[in-house]
Protein backbone atom coordinates (compact mmCIF):
# COMPACT_ATOMS: atom_id res chain seq x y z
CA UNK A 1 0.00 0.00 0.00
CA UNK A 2 1.36 3.39 -0.90
CA UNK A 3 1.99 6.03 1.71
CA UNK A 4 -0.62 8.23 0.13
CA UNK A 5 -3.45 5.74 0.49
CA UNK A 6 -2.39 4.98 4.06
CA UNK A 7 -2.63 8.62 4.99
CA UNK A 8 -5.98 8.74 3.25
CA UNK A 9 -7.16 5.86 5.39
CA UNK A 10 -5.86 7.73 8.41
CA UNK A 11 -7.88 10.75 7.46
CA UNK A 12 -11.14 8.86 7.11
CA UNK A 13 -10.27 7.14 10.36
CA UNK A 14 -9.99 10.51 12.08
CA UNK A 15 -13.16 11.69 10.42
CA UNK A 16 -15.06 8.64 11.69
CA UNK A 17 -13.75 9.03 15.22
CA UNK A 18 -14.65 12.70 15.10
CA UNK A 19 -18.21 11.98 14.04
CA UNK A 20 -18.66 9.47 16.86
CA UNK A 21 -17.21 11.92 19.37
CA UNK A 22 -19.43 14.73 18.16
CA UNK A 23 -22.60 12.67 18.32
CA UNK A 24 -21.88 11.72 21.92
CA UNK A 25 -21.15 15.38 22.70
CA UNK A 26 -24.38 16.36 20.96
CA UNK A 27 -26.45 14.38 23.47
CA UNK A 28 -24.77 16.15 26.37
CA UNK A 29 -25.22 19.53 24.69
CA UNK A 30 -28.87 18.69 23.97
CA UNK A 31 -29.69 18.07 27.62
CA UNK A 32 -27.88 21.20 28.74
CA UNK A 33 -29.55 23.23 26.00
CA UNK A 34 -32.95 21.95 27.14
CA UNK A 35 -32.22 23.03 30.68
CA UNK A 36 -30.85 26.42 29.63
CA UNK A 37 -33.74 27.16 27.26
CA UNK A 38 -36.26 26.42 29.99
CA UNK A 39 -34.30 28.59 32.41
CA UNK A 40 -33.91 31.53 30.02
CA UNK A 41 -37.57 31.54 29.08
CA UNK A 42 -38.58 31.35 32.75
CA UNK A 43 -36.63 34.52 33.63
CA UNK A 44 -39.53 36.98 33.16
CA UNK A 45 -41.67 34.95 35.54
CA UNK A 46 -38.81 34.39 38.01
CA UNK A 47 -38.13 38.13 38.04
CA UNK A 48 -41.78 38.98 38.55
CA UNK A 49 -42.72 36.49 41.25
CA UNK A 50 -39.46 35.15 42.70
CA UNK A 51 -39.88 32.30 45.17
CA UNK A 52 -43.45 33.41 45.73
CA UNK A 53 -44.29 31.62 42.47
CA UNK A 54 -44.23 28.33 44.35
CA UNK A 55 -46.54 29.57 47.10
CA UNK A 56 -48.92 31.73 45.13
CA UNK A 57 -52.45 30.36 45.43
CA UNK A 58 -53.96 32.31 42.56
CA UNK A 59 -53.45 31.52 38.90
CA UNK A 60 -55.34 34.08 36.85
CA UNK A 61 -54.11 34.81 33.33
CA UNK A 62 -56.66 37.62 32.92
CA UNK A 63 -55.15 39.66 35.76
CA UNK A 64 -51.60 38.48 35.12
CA UNK A 65 -51.35 36.72 38.48
CA UNK A 66 -49.44 33.45 38.40
CA UNK A 67 -48.97 31.27 41.46
CA UNK A 68 -48.17 27.59 40.98
CA UNK A 69 -49.30 26.21 44.32
CA UNK A 70 -52.60 24.70 43.04
CA UNK A 71 -50.68 22.70 40.45
CA UNK A 72 -47.96 21.61 42.84
CA UNK A 73 -50.65 20.35 45.22
CA UNK A 74 -52.51 18.68 42.35
CA UNK A 75 -49.41 16.92 41.03
CA UNK A 76 -48.25 15.76 44.45
CA UNK A 77 -51.70 14.53 45.48
CA UNK A 78 -52.38 12.56 42.29
CA UNK A 79 -48.88 11.07 42.13
CA UNK A 80 -48.67 9.97 45.74
CA UNK A 81 -52.22 8.65 45.82
CA UNK A 82 -51.45 6.65 42.67
CA UNK A 83 -48.22 5.32 44.19
CA UNK A 84 -49.98 4.37 47.40
CA UNK A 85 -52.63 2.35 45.55
CA UNK A 86 -50.10 0.78 43.19
CA UNK A 87 -47.60 -0.46 45.80
CA UNK A 88 -49.47 -3.61 46.93
CA UNK A 89 -50.17 -4.53 43.32
CA UNK A 90 -46.70 -3.96 41.93
CA UNK A 91 -45.15 -5.69 44.94
CA UNK A 92 -47.40 -8.70 44.36
CA UNK A 93 -46.41 -8.85 40.70
CA UNK A 94 -42.72 -8.56 41.63
CA UNK A 95 -43.01 -11.47 44.05
CA UNK A 96 -45.20 -13.47 41.68
CA UNK A 97 -42.77 -13.16 38.77
CA UNK A 98 -39.56 -13.05 40.78
CA UNK A 99 -40.22 -15.84 43.27
CA UNK A 100 -43.37 -17.94 42.82
CA UNK A 101 -43.56 -18.32 39.05
CA UNK A 102 -40.26 -17.39 37.46
CA UNK A 103 -41.16 -19.31 34.30
CA UNK A 104 -44.09 -21.10 32.69
CA UNK A 105 -47.39 -20.12 31.11
CA UNK A 106 -48.61 -18.21 34.15
CA UNK A 107 -45.64 -15.94 34.26
CA UNK A 108 -45.40 -15.35 30.53
CA UNK A 109 -49.08 -14.39 30.38
CA UNK A 110 -48.62 -11.91 33.21
CA UNK A 111 -45.36 -10.64 31.77
CA UNK A 112 -46.84 -9.95 28.34
CA UNK A 113 -49.86 -8.30 29.93
CA UNK A 114 -47.59 -5.97 31.88
CA UNK A 115 -45.63 -5.18 28.72
CA UNK A 116 -48.79 -4.33 26.82
CA UNK A 117 -49.94 -2.20 29.74
CA UNK A 118 -46.69 -0.24 29.45
CA UNK A 119 -47.06 0.07 25.69
CA UNK A 120 -50.58 1.49 25.52
CA UNK A 121 -50.38 5.24 24.76
CA UNK A 122 -51.45 7.54 27.55
CA UNK A 123 -54.08 9.19 25.35
CA UNK A 124 -55.90 5.84 25.25
CA UNK A 125 -55.87 5.63 29.04
CA UNK A 126 -57.26 9.15 29.17
CA UNK A 127 -59.97 8.44 26.62
CA UNK A 128 -61.01 5.25 28.39
CA UNK A 129 -60.92 7.02 31.73
CA UNK A 130 -63.12 9.83 30.46
CA UNK A 131 -65.78 7.54 29.00
CA UNK A 132 -65.73 4.57 31.37
CA UNK A 133 -64.15 5.51 34.67
CA UNK A 134 -65.61 9.01 35.06
CA UNK A 135 -69.27 7.85 34.84
CA UNK A 136 -68.48 5.07 37.33
CA UNK A 137 -66.94 7.51 39.79
CA UNK A 138 -69.85 9.89 39.26
CA UNK A 139 -72.40 7.26 40.26
CA UNK A 140 -70.21 6.37 43.24
CA UNK A 141 -70.17 10.01 44.28
CA UNK A 142 -73.94 10.26 43.97
CA UNK A 143 -74.26 7.26 46.28
CA UNK A 144 -71.86 8.80 48.76
CA UNK A 145 -73.68 12.10 48.58
CA UNK A 146 -70.74 14.23 47.38
CA UNK A 147 -70.78 16.65 44.46
CA UNK A 148 -70.92 14.32 41.45
CA UNK A 149 -68.13 15.81 39.36
CA UNK A 150 -66.84 12.44 38.18
CA UNK A 151 -63.61 14.07 37.15
CA UNK A 152 -61.04 15.02 39.77
CA UNK A 153 -57.96 14.06 41.77
CA UNK A 154 -59.27 10.61 42.67
CA UNK A 155 -60.14 9.63 39.10
CA UNK A 156 -56.76 10.86 37.87
CA UNK A 157 -54.98 8.83 40.56
CA UNK A 158 -56.87 5.70 39.53
CA UNK A 159 -55.78 6.10 35.90
CA UNK A 160 -52.21 6.89 36.95
CA UNK A 161 -52.11 3.87 39.23
CA UNK A 162 -52.87 1.57 36.31
CA UNK A 163 -50.28 3.30 34.15
CA UNK A 164 -47.37 3.13 36.60
CA UNK A 165 -47.75 -0.52 37.64
CA UNK A 166 -45.46 -1.81 34.85
CA UNK A 167 -42.64 0.53 35.86
CA UNK A 168 -42.31 -0.46 39.50
CA UNK A 169 -43.26 -4.08 38.81
CA UNK A 170 -40.57 -4.73 36.19
CA UNK A 171 -37.78 -3.34 38.39
CA UNK A 172 -39.24 -5.06 41.43
CA UNK A 173 -39.15 -8.41 39.61
CA UNK A 174 -35.52 -7.89 38.64
CA UNK A 175 -34.36 -7.12 42.17
CA UNK A 176 -36.38 -9.97 43.69
CA UNK A 177 -34.60 -12.30 41.28
CA UNK A 178 -31.24 -10.82 42.26
CA UNK A 179 -31.54 -12.15 45.81
CA UNK A 180 -28.80 -14.82 46.09
CA UNK A 181 -30.29 -18.29 46.31
CA UNK A 182 -27.86 -19.21 49.14
CA UNK A 183 -29.70 -16.82 51.43
CA UNK A 184 -33.07 -18.27 50.50
CA UNK A 185 -31.83 -21.87 50.76
CA UNK A 186 -30.33 -21.18 54.16
CA UNK A 187 -33.66 -19.90 55.41
CA UNK A 188 -35.55 -22.82 53.83
CA UNK A 189 -33.19 -25.32 55.41
CA UNK A 190 -33.92 -23.80 58.80
CA UNK A 191 -37.54 -24.71 58.20
CA UNK A 192 -38.92 -21.37 57.13
CA UNK A 193 -42.04 -21.31 54.99
CA UNK A 194 -42.06 -19.50 51.65
CA UNK A 195 -43.90 -16.59 53.21
CA UNK A 196 -41.30 -16.29 55.95
CA UNK A 197 -38.48 -16.42 53.42
CA UNK A 198 -40.12 -13.67 51.40
CA UNK A 199 -40.75 -11.49 54.42
CA UNK A 200 -37.53 -12.03 56.31
CA UNK A 201 -34.99 -12.61 53.52
CA UNK A 202 -36.15 -11.47 50.10
CA UNK A 203 -37.92 -8.23 50.96
CA UNK A 204 -35.19 -6.89 53.27
CA UNK A 205 -32.55 -7.74 50.68
CA UNK A 206 -34.47 -6.24 47.77
CA UNK A 207 -35.76 -3.28 49.74
CA UNK A 208 -33.67 -0.56 48.14
CA UNK A 209 -34.29 -1.91 44.65
CA UNK A 210 -38.03 -2.00 45.23
CA UNK A 211 -37.80 1.56 46.47
CA UNK A 212 -35.95 2.50 43.29
CA UNK A 213 -38.73 0.99 41.20
CA UNK A 214 -41.26 3.03 43.13
CA UNK A 215 -39.16 6.16 42.56
CA UNK A 216 -39.04 5.55 38.82
CA UNK A 217 -42.80 5.04 38.82
CA UNK A 218 -43.10 8.32 40.71
CA UNK A 219 -41.02 10.04 38.04
CA UNK A 220 -43.41 8.75 35.46
CA UNK A 221 -46.50 9.77 37.45
CA UNK A 222 -45.23 13.31 38.04
CA UNK A 223 -44.81 14.00 34.34
CA UNK A 224 -47.80 12.13 32.95
CA UNK A 225 -49.88 14.57 30.95
CA UNK A 226 -52.63 13.42 28.63
CA UNK A 227 -54.40 10.81 30.73
CA UNK A 228 -54.47 13.17 33.69
CA UNK A 229 -55.52 16.20 31.65
CA UNK A 230 -58.55 14.36 30.36
CA UNK A 231 -59.94 13.25 33.72
CA UNK A 232 -58.82 15.77 36.32
CA UNK A 233 -61.33 18.52 35.55
CA UNK A 234 -58.86 21.34 34.84
CA UNK A 235 -59.71 23.83 37.56
CA UNK A 236 -56.99 26.21 38.70
CA UNK A 237 -57.71 26.17 42.42
CA UNK A 238 -56.27 24.23 45.33
CA UNK A 239 -58.44 21.11 45.69
CA UNK A 240 -60.30 20.81 48.98
CA UNK A 241 -60.88 17.07 48.84
CA UNK A 242 -59.56 14.15 46.83
CA UNK A 243 -62.81 14.08 44.87
CA UNK A 244 -62.67 17.67 43.71
CA UNK A 245 -61.46 18.70 40.27
CA UNK A 246 -57.99 20.22 40.06
CA UNK A 247 -55.06 20.64 37.70
CA UNK A 248 -51.53 19.27 37.72
CA UNK A 249 -48.34 20.92 36.56
CA UNK A 250 -48.32 18.92 33.35
CA UNK A 251 -52.02 19.35 32.65
CA UNK A 252 -52.00 23.13 33.06
CA UNK A 253 -49.19 23.34 30.50
CA UNK A 254 -51.16 21.12 28.13
CA UNK A 255 -54.29 23.23 28.56
CA UNK A 256 -52.93 26.74 28.42
CA UNK A 257 -49.65 26.73 26.52
CA UNK A 258 -51.06 27.04 23.01
CA UNK A 259 -53.34 29.89 24.06
CA UNK A 260 -50.82 31.78 26.18
CA UNK A 261 -50.57 35.14 24.43
CA UNK A 262 -48.82 37.27 27.01
CA UNK A 263 -45.16 36.88 27.64
CA UNK A 264 -45.60 36.51 31.40
CA UNK A 265 -48.20 33.76 31.04
CA UNK A 266 -45.96 31.81 28.66
CA UNK A 267 -42.98 32.33 30.89
CA UNK A 268 -44.86 31.10 33.97
CA UNK A 269 -45.87 27.96 32.09
CA UNK A 270 -42.27 27.40 31.00
CA UNK A 271 -41.21 27.80 34.61
CA UNK A 272 -43.63 25.06 35.62
CA UNK A 273 -42.02 22.96 32.89
CA UNK A 274 -38.60 23.76 34.34
CA UNK A 275 -39.76 22.62 37.78
CA UNK A 276 -41.10 19.38 36.29
CA UNK A 277 -37.83 18.82 34.44
CA UNK A 278 -35.68 19.33 37.55
CA UNK A 279 -37.87 17.23 39.87
CA UNK A 280 -38.24 14.27 37.49
CA UNK A 281 -34.51 14.42 36.72
CA UNK A 282 -33.60 14.14 40.40
CA UNK A 283 -36.12 11.36 41.04
CA UNK A 284 -34.90 9.40 37.99
CA UNK A 285 -31.20 9.77 38.70
CA UNK A 286 -31.60 8.61 42.30
CA UNK A 287 -33.77 5.66 41.20
CA UNK A 288 -31.40 4.49 38.47
CA UNK A 289 -28.40 4.95 40.74
CA UNK A 290 -29.91 2.57 43.31
CA UNK A 291 -30.78 -0.03 40.65
CA UNK A 292 -27.27 0.11 39.19
CA UNK A 293 -25.64 -0.23 42.59
CA UNK A 294 -27.80 -3.25 43.44
CA UNK A 295 -27.08 -5.10 40.21
CA UNK A 296 -23.34 -4.43 40.54
CA UNK A 297 -23.27 -5.75 44.11
CA UNK A 298 -24.86 -9.07 43.30
Amino acid sequence: MSIQSLSKAGRSELFFQGVLYLSACFLVVLVFAIFLSLLVHSIPSINEFGVGFLFGKIWDPVFGLFGALPFLVGTLLTSFLALLISIPFSLSISIFLGEYFTEGTFSSVLKSAIEILAGIPSIIYGFWGLFVLVPLIRSLQIKLGIMPYGVGIFTASLILFIMIIPYSASIGREVVQLVPSEFKEAAFSLGATRFEVIRKVILPYARSGILAGILLALGRALGETMAVTMVIGNVNVIPDSIFSPANTMASVIANEFAEAMENLHLSSLVQIGLLLFVVTMIVNIIGRHIVKKMSVES
Binding site: A9, S12, E13, F15, Q17, V19, L20, Y21, S23, A24, C25, F26, L27, V28, L30, V31, S37, L38, H41, F89, S92, I93, I95, F96, Y100, L110, A113, I114, I116, L117, G119, I120, P121, I123, I124, G126, F127, F131, I162, A169, T193, R194, F195, I198, G223, M226, M230, A250, I253, F257, A258, V270, G273, L276, F277, T280, M281, V283, N284, I285
Partner: protein, 282 residues
Protein backbone atom coordinates in the same frame (compact mmCIF):
# COMPACT_ATOMS: atom_id res chain seq x y z
CA UNK B 1 -49.25 -20.71 71.60
CA UNK B 2 -51.57 -21.12 68.67
CA UNK B 3 -49.49 -18.71 66.61
CA UNK B 4 -46.33 -20.75 66.42
CA UNK B 5 -47.74 -24.09 65.40
CA UNK B 6 -46.56 -25.46 62.11
CA UNK B 7 -50.04 -25.70 60.64
CA UNK B 8 -50.70 -22.03 61.36
CA UNK B 9 -47.44 -21.08 59.64
CA UNK B 10 -48.30 -23.19 56.61
CA UNK B 11 -51.75 -21.66 56.50
CA UNK B 12 -50.24 -18.18 56.59
CA UNK B 13 -47.95 -19.17 53.75
CA UNK B 14 -50.89 -20.36 51.66
CA UNK B 15 -52.96 -17.28 52.39
CA UNK B 16 -50.07 -15.07 51.35
CA UNK B 17 -49.55 -16.97 48.12
CA UNK B 18 -53.23 -16.70 47.28
CA UNK B 19 -53.10 -13.00 48.01
CA UNK B 20 -50.11 -12.47 45.73
CA UNK B 21 -51.73 -14.36 42.87
CA UNK B 22 -55.01 -12.53 43.36
CA UNK B 23 -53.48 -9.05 43.37
CA UNK B 24 -51.26 -9.85 40.40
CA UNK B 25 -54.19 -10.86 38.27
CA UNK B 26 -56.44 -8.08 39.51
CA UNK B 27 -53.87 -5.62 38.22
CA UNK B 28 -54.21 -6.85 34.66
CA UNK B 29 -58.01 -6.55 34.75
CA UNK B 30 -57.89 -2.86 33.73
CA UNK B 31 -55.89 -3.87 30.66
CA UNK B 32 -58.62 -6.31 29.65
CA UNK B 33 -61.27 -3.65 30.27
CA UNK B 34 -59.42 -1.09 28.20
CA UNK B 35 -58.82 -3.46 25.28
CA UNK B 36 -62.43 -4.64 25.49
CA UNK B 37 -63.84 -1.10 25.27
CA UNK B 38 -61.48 -0.06 22.49
CA UNK B 39 -62.39 -3.09 20.40
CA UNK B 40 -66.12 -2.94 21.18
CA UNK B 41 -66.50 0.75 20.36
CA UNK B 42 -63.80 1.02 17.75
CA UNK B 43 -64.32 -1.90 15.45
CA UNK B 44 -67.74 -0.72 14.27
CA UNK B 45 -66.36 2.51 12.84
CA UNK B 46 -63.54 0.85 10.92
CA UNK B 47 -64.15 0.57 7.21
CA UNK B 48 -62.45 1.62 4.02
CA UNK B 49 -64.01 5.07 4.01
CA UNK B 50 -62.86 5.64 7.59
CA UNK B 51 -59.25 5.04 6.64
CA UNK B 52 -59.20 6.92 3.33
CA UNK B 53 -61.43 9.97 3.78
CA UNK B 54 -61.00 13.33 5.44
CA UNK B 55 -63.10 14.21 8.50
CA UNK B 56 -66.46 15.79 7.70
CA UNK B 57 -68.14 18.76 9.35
CA UNK B 58 -70.22 18.27 12.46
CA UNK B 59 -73.63 16.90 11.64
CA UNK B 60 -72.59 15.16 8.43
CA UNK B 61 -72.39 11.41 8.73
CA UNK B 62 -69.27 9.49 7.83
CA UNK B 63 -65.85 10.96 7.34
CA UNK B 64 -62.50 9.46 8.10
CA UNK B 65 -59.12 9.95 9.59
CA UNK B 66 -56.86 9.84 6.55
CA UNK B 67 -55.29 13.21 7.40
CA UNK B 68 -54.26 11.92 10.83
CA UNK B 69 -52.84 8.70 9.40
CA UNK B 70 -50.77 10.61 6.85
CA UNK B 71 -49.77 13.13 9.52
CA UNK B 72 -48.57 10.47 11.91
CA UNK B 73 -46.62 8.88 9.07
CA UNK B 74 -44.92 12.16 8.14
CA UNK B 75 -44.10 12.95 11.78
CA UNK B 76 -42.57 9.51 12.25
CA UNK B 77 -40.47 9.87 9.10
CA UNK B 78 -39.15 13.27 10.20
CA UNK B 79 -38.34 12.03 13.69
CA UNK B 80 -36.62 8.89 12.37
CA UNK B 81 -34.48 10.94 9.98
CA UNK B 82 -33.41 13.15 12.88
CA UNK B 83 -32.96 10.54 15.59
CA UNK B 84 -31.84 7.26 13.99
CA UNK B 85 -28.38 8.21 12.60
CA UNK B 86 -27.52 10.29 15.64
CA UNK B 87 -28.72 7.65 18.08
CA UNK B 88 -26.77 4.87 16.38
CA UNK B 89 -23.57 6.92 16.20
CA UNK B 90 -23.80 7.87 19.87
CA UNK B 91 -24.51 4.23 20.71
CA UNK B 92 -21.36 3.18 18.83
CA UNK B 93 -19.34 5.78 20.72
CA UNK B 94 -20.62 4.49 24.06
CA UNK B 95 -19.89 0.86 23.27
CA UNK B 96 -16.41 1.70 21.94
CA UNK B 97 -15.53 3.92 24.90
CA UNK B 98 -16.94 2.03 27.87
CA UNK B 99 -15.10 4.20 30.36
CA UNK B 100 -14.13 7.82 30.22
CA UNK B 101 -15.58 11.10 31.28
CA UNK B 102 -17.55 11.84 28.11
CA UNK B 103 -19.10 8.36 28.10
CA UNK B 104 -20.15 8.74 31.72
CA UNK B 105 -21.65 12.15 31.03
CA UNK B 106 -23.38 10.95 27.86
CA UNK B 107 -24.92 7.97 29.66
CA UNK B 108 -26.17 10.26 32.39
CA UNK B 109 -27.66 12.59 29.80
CA UNK B 110 -29.37 9.70 28.03
CA UNK B 111 -30.94 8.71 31.34
CA UNK B 112 -32.06 12.26 31.99
CA UNK B 113 -33.43 12.52 28.46
CA UNK B 114 -35.41 9.32 28.95
CA UNK B 115 -36.98 10.67 32.13
CA UNK B 116 -37.99 14.10 30.82
CA UNK B 117 -41.80 14.34 30.80
CA UNK B 118 -43.11 14.45 27.23
CA UNK B 119 -44.90 17.75 27.80
CA UNK B 120 -41.55 19.40 28.61
CA UNK B 121 -40.15 18.10 25.30
CA UNK B 122 -43.16 19.77 23.70
CA UNK B 123 -42.25 23.09 25.33
CA UNK B 124 -38.68 22.73 24.05
CA UNK B 125 -39.76 22.04 20.47
CA UNK B 126 -42.07 25.04 20.73
CA UNK B 127 -39.31 27.32 21.99
CA UNK B 128 -36.73 26.10 19.49
CA UNK B 129 -38.70 25.50 16.31
CA UNK B 130 -42.16 27.07 16.52
CA UNK B 131 -40.94 30.40 17.92
CA UNK B 132 -38.14 30.72 15.39
CA UNK B 133 -40.34 29.77 12.42
CA UNK B 134 -43.33 31.73 13.66
CA UNK B 135 -45.83 28.92 13.00
CA UNK B 136 -46.89 25.52 14.26
CA UNK B 137 -45.47 22.90 11.93
CA UNK B 138 -44.97 19.23 11.24
CA UNK B 139 -41.24 19.85 11.50
CA UNK B 140 -41.49 21.01 15.12
CA UNK B 141 -43.59 17.94 15.99
CA UNK B 142 -40.98 15.74 14.32
CA UNK B 143 -38.22 17.41 16.35
CA UNK B 144 -40.14 16.75 19.58
CA UNK B 145 -40.72 13.09 18.72
CA UNK B 146 -37.10 12.74 17.54
CA UNK B 147 -35.79 13.93 20.90
CA UNK B 148 -38.02 11.36 22.59
CA UNK B 149 -36.74 8.55 20.35
CA UNK B 150 -33.06 9.26 20.96
CA UNK B 151 -32.53 7.66 24.38
CA UNK B 152 -34.17 4.36 23.38
CA UNK B 153 -32.09 4.08 20.20
CA UNK B 154 -28.83 5.00 21.93
CA UNK B 155 -29.32 2.49 24.73
CA UNK B 156 -30.38 -0.46 22.59
CA UNK B 157 -27.56 0.20 20.11
CA UNK B 158 -25.00 0.37 22.91
CA UNK B 159 -26.31 -2.76 24.57
CA UNK B 160 -26.43 -4.85 21.39
CA UNK B 161 -22.98 -3.75 20.28
CA UNK B 162 -21.60 -4.81 23.65
CA UNK B 163 -22.88 -8.33 22.95
CA UNK B 164 -20.86 -8.66 19.74
CA UNK B 165 -17.80 -10.76 20.65
CA UNK B 166 -14.45 -9.04 20.74
CA UNK B 167 -12.86 -11.77 18.59
CA UNK B 168 -14.89 -10.62 15.60
CA UNK B 169 -13.38 -7.17 15.86
CA UNK B 170 -9.88 -8.53 16.48
CA UNK B 171 -10.09 -10.78 13.46
CA UNK B 172 -11.13 -7.91 11.23
CA UNK B 173 -8.44 -5.60 12.56
CA UNK B 174 -5.82 -8.34 12.19
CA UNK B 175 -6.68 -8.56 8.50
CA UNK B 176 -5.69 -4.94 8.21
CA UNK B 177 -9.20 -3.57 7.84
CA UNK B 178 -9.25 0.03 9.05
CA UNK B 179 -11.06 0.67 12.32
CA UNK B 180 -13.99 2.55 10.85
CA UNK B 181 -14.60 -0.10 8.21
CA UNK B 182 -14.46 -2.76 10.90
CA UNK B 183 -17.19 -0.99 12.80
CA UNK B 184 -19.35 -0.24 9.78
CA UNK B 185 -18.91 -3.50 7.86
CA UNK B 186 -18.38 -6.10 10.58
CA UNK B 187 -19.71 -4.99 13.95
CA UNK B 188 -22.81 -3.09 12.85
CA UNK B 189 -24.17 -5.83 10.54
CA UNK B 190 -23.69 -8.37 13.32
CA UNK B 191 -25.75 -6.22 15.66
CA UNK B 192 -28.34 -5.14 13.11
CA UNK B 193 -31.29 -7.02 14.61
CA UNK B 194 -30.81 -5.39 17.99
CA UNK B 195 -30.54 -1.96 16.46
CA UNK B 196 -33.67 -2.48 14.37
CA UNK B 197 -35.45 -3.61 17.54
CA UNK B 198 -34.41 -0.40 19.22
CA UNK B 199 -35.72 1.72 16.38
CA UNK B 200 -39.04 -0.14 16.32
CA UNK B 201 -39.35 0.23 20.09
CA UNK B 202 -38.73 3.92 19.90
CA UNK B 203 -41.26 4.30 17.09
CA UNK B 204 -43.79 2.40 19.20
CA UNK B 205 -43.02 4.71 22.09
CA UNK B 206 -43.59 7.96 20.20
CA UNK B 207 -46.48 6.98 17.93
CA UNK B 208 -48.98 7.42 20.73
CA UNK B 209 -47.42 10.55 22.19
CA UNK B 210 -49.85 13.43 22.31
CA UNK B 211 -48.43 15.91 24.77
CA UNK B 212 -45.38 16.94 22.72
CA UNK B 213 -47.58 17.52 19.65
CA UNK B 214 -50.21 19.76 21.29
CA UNK B 215 -48.36 22.97 20.54
CA UNK B 216 -45.95 21.82 17.85
CA UNK B 217 -47.74 19.81 15.14
CA UNK B 218 -50.97 21.34 16.50
CA UNK B 219 -53.40 19.39 14.32
CA UNK B 220 -55.21 20.28 11.13
CA UNK B 221 -58.50 19.15 9.58
CA UNK B 222 -56.96 19.08 6.11
CA UNK B 223 -54.67 16.74 4.26
CA UNK B 224 -51.23 18.30 4.44
CA UNK B 225 -47.90 17.25 3.01
CA UNK B 226 -46.05 20.48 3.75
CA UNK B 227 -43.75 19.99 6.73
CA UNK B 228 -43.74 23.72 7.48
CA UNK B 229 -47.49 23.77 8.12
CA UNK B 230 -49.54 22.41 11.04
CA UNK B 231 -50.36 18.74 10.63
CA UNK B 232 -52.75 16.28 12.21
CA UNK B 233 -51.74 13.08 14.00
CA UNK B 234 -53.68 10.09 15.32
CA UNK B 235 -53.27 10.86 19.04
CA UNK B 236 -54.02 14.56 18.49
CA UNK B 237 -57.19 13.66 16.62
CA UNK B 238 -58.24 11.29 19.41
CA UNK B 239 -57.68 14.01 22.00
CA UNK B 240 -59.60 16.68 20.08
CA UNK B 241 -62.50 14.42 19.19
CA UNK B 242 -62.75 12.69 22.55
CA UNK B 243 -63.00 16.00 24.41
CA UNK B 244 -65.57 17.39 21.97
CA UNK B 245 -69.26 17.31 22.91
CA UNK B 246 -70.45 15.49 19.74
CA UNK B 247 -71.27 11.76 19.83
CA UNK B 248 -70.39 11.36 16.10
CA UNK B 249 -66.88 12.59 16.87
CA UNK B 250 -66.62 10.29 19.87
CA UNK B 251 -67.20 7.28 17.67
CA UNK B 252 -64.51 8.52 15.27
CA UNK B 253 -62.19 8.86 18.27
CA UNK B 254 -62.94 5.25 19.29
CA UNK B 255 -62.16 4.10 15.77
CA UNK B 256 -58.91 6.07 15.74
CA UNK B 257 -57.99 4.62 19.15
CA UNK B 258 -58.56 1.15 17.78
CA UNK B 259 -56.22 1.86 14.86
CA UNK B 260 -53.59 3.37 17.17
CA UNK B 261 -53.67 0.51 19.68
CA UNK B 262 -53.49 -2.11 16.94
CA UNK B 263 -50.54 -0.30 15.35
CA UNK B 264 -48.62 -0.05 18.63
CA UNK B 265 -49.39 -3.67 19.55
CA UNK B 266 -48.25 -4.93 16.14
CA UNK B 267 -45.02 -2.95 16.47
CA UNK B 268 -44.44 -4.51 19.88
CA UNK B 269 -45.09 -8.01 18.55
CA UNK B 270 -42.73 -7.48 15.60
CA UNK B 271 -40.08 -6.26 18.02
CA UNK B 272 -40.47 -9.42 20.07
CA UNK B 273 -40.28 -11.64 17.00
CA UNK B 274 -37.16 -9.86 15.77
CA UNK B 275 -35.41 -10.27 19.10
CA UNK B 276 -36.41 -13.91 19.31
CA UNK B 277 -35.49 -14.82 15.74
CA UNK B 278 -32.34 -12.85 15.14
CA UNK B 279 -31.06 -12.45 18.62
CA UNK B 280 -27.32 -11.79 18.66
CA UNK B 281 -26.11 -15.29 19.40
CA UNK B 282 -22.42 -16.01 19.57
Amino acid sequence: MQKDTVSWRILKDKIFKGFVILLSFVSILPLLFILFYIVKNGITSINWEFLTHLPKHIGEAGGGISNALVGTGILLIISCILAVPLGILAGIYLSEHRKGRLSYLTRLCVEVLQGIPSIVIGIIAYLWVVLSMGTFSALSGGVALGIMMLPVIVRTTEETLKLVPFELKEASLALGVPYHRTILKVILPAAMSGIVTGILLSVARVTGETAPLLFTAFGSPFMNFNIFKPISALPLLIFNYATSPYPEWHSIAWGASFVLVIFVLILNIITKLVTKRWKVQF
